[in-house]
Symmetry: none
Subunit: 222 residues, 2 copies
DNA sequence: CTACTATTCAATCGATCACTTGAATACTAG
DNA sequence: CTAGTATTCAAGTGATCGATTGAATAGTAG
């Protein structure tokens, strides 16, 4: 029983767990699941200092969850792979199912869950191809550019009211954003319904869509 | 949206992450995945004190990963559900794929980094068009299908040895994979040289190639 | 009731973590 | 080269964590 190989494996897994033990780092992961970003961008998005952000990112990198790419003066980080999204989804599922607290918050903020029943991904893909629904991406343009559901229209949620006429009025709208805990699509559905459109949420965000192996379009860089 | 609900949810997910941040606790989870056990049994199996075991189990319980059942003098703990196993699997996948592998290969090849000097992207494009080099994509087929260097041959790194005859023996091979921190191309170059072929790495992976505005071929989805 | 056992609680100590601050490094522009 | 910027490194502080120890709680057996 000199060195236990199983213990070594567990120590490795624990390193991943440690990386996931900070709310801030989970937020970074969610942001990086949308598009790669520089340290400075991430610091601005989360409201922390650059040095602190850099340290968190390095913990995530050491755990193998993200990778960095240096381009000129900037270091762009992105998720190491779709497996990371799958892992986060698995964690969310456990959290939702077993942590009473999470359930409470989900109920409180995210749900009139019955009224806002989400649409499964496959259903959306089929119906979008047949022209039966309009798929709406309410995330910021740079995230849309980094990857979006094929054929989706991009209108950030805060511009939705003034650009609502870009959407076909008679067709049902399916809105999505960053993930299951992202509020933007709830907000969008509420606004659209207020204006008299039929609207529902996609069950998850783009990272989960991509991780499920569904097709993703990307805006070409100049 | 007064208090950010996303932050609250992330804080709870982080509690799950914290529960998974200790090798000992992961060991308990693995044991409990087999069968429910009492505190004393678990303490004996892991070689820790009963009090310590009890504390770990309570952290796991608070995170919603296990549940306890009191029967007489004993408290029997078991996993809260199968989703926990799924989450552990997802973690293992990430850990194995990105931590262990990278560490192993870095140790193996880092010393020889001078010998494995990479080829700049533009040079490869020119020389590939002139038929001077064979470009080799060692990523999994689905990633190759989603986009690859024009004219590149796709042989996943683990199939390289048995499919090596698909490569022209006299032409130099330039191998690439996922990115600058992906080590599959290091492995590929090492294998190719062992077989007597001239081989070098592309300086980056396909994402950087695409980001640099260089042409990318794509296999059409059905 | 008393004696005994499994589990949990409480107090403690050293190690690690999150965050801040200020400096060092790496790269670009001129 | 110098000036300027993005990122990382290094040191310091208060908080939390993991483990130990010893006592308290809850249950059983007689």
């Amino acid at each position: 029983m000199s060195t236990n190989p199983k213990r070594e494996v567990f120590a490795n897994l624990a390193r991943v767990g440690t990386a996931l033990s900070s709310p801030t780092r989970i937020e970074y992961l969610e942001l990086l699941a949308q598009a790669e970003r520089s340290v400075e961008q991430l610091a601005g998005l989360t409201g922390t200092t650059v040095a602190n952000t850099s340290q968190h990112l390095q913990k995530l990198r050491q755990a193998g969850l993200i990778v960095g790419r240096k381009e000129g003066l900037y270091v762009y980080y992105r998720l190491a792979g779709d497996e990371v999204v799958g892992m986060l989804s698995a964690m969310s599922r456990v959290g939702e199912a077993y942590v009473a607290e999470v359930e409470r918050i989900v109920r409180l903020y995210f749900a009139a869950k019955d009224e806002l029943e989400p649409v499964p991904a496959k259903e959306v893909l089929d119906r979008a191809r047949k022209g039966l629904v309009t798929v709406l991406d309410v995330r910021p343009p740079e995230e849309y550019a980094a990857g979006h559901v094929p054929g989706a229209i991009n209108i950030p949620v805060h511009e939705l009211e003034k650009r609502i006429k870009e959407l076909p009025k008679q067709r049902e709208v399916v809105a999505y954003c960053r993930g299951p805990y992202c509020l933007m699509s709830f907000e969008a559905v509420a606004k659209l319904r207020k204006k008299g459109l039929r609207a529902r949420r996609l069950e998850n965000g783009l990272p989960e869509w991509r991780a499920a192996g569904l097709p993703v379009d990307q805006s070409v860089k100049p």
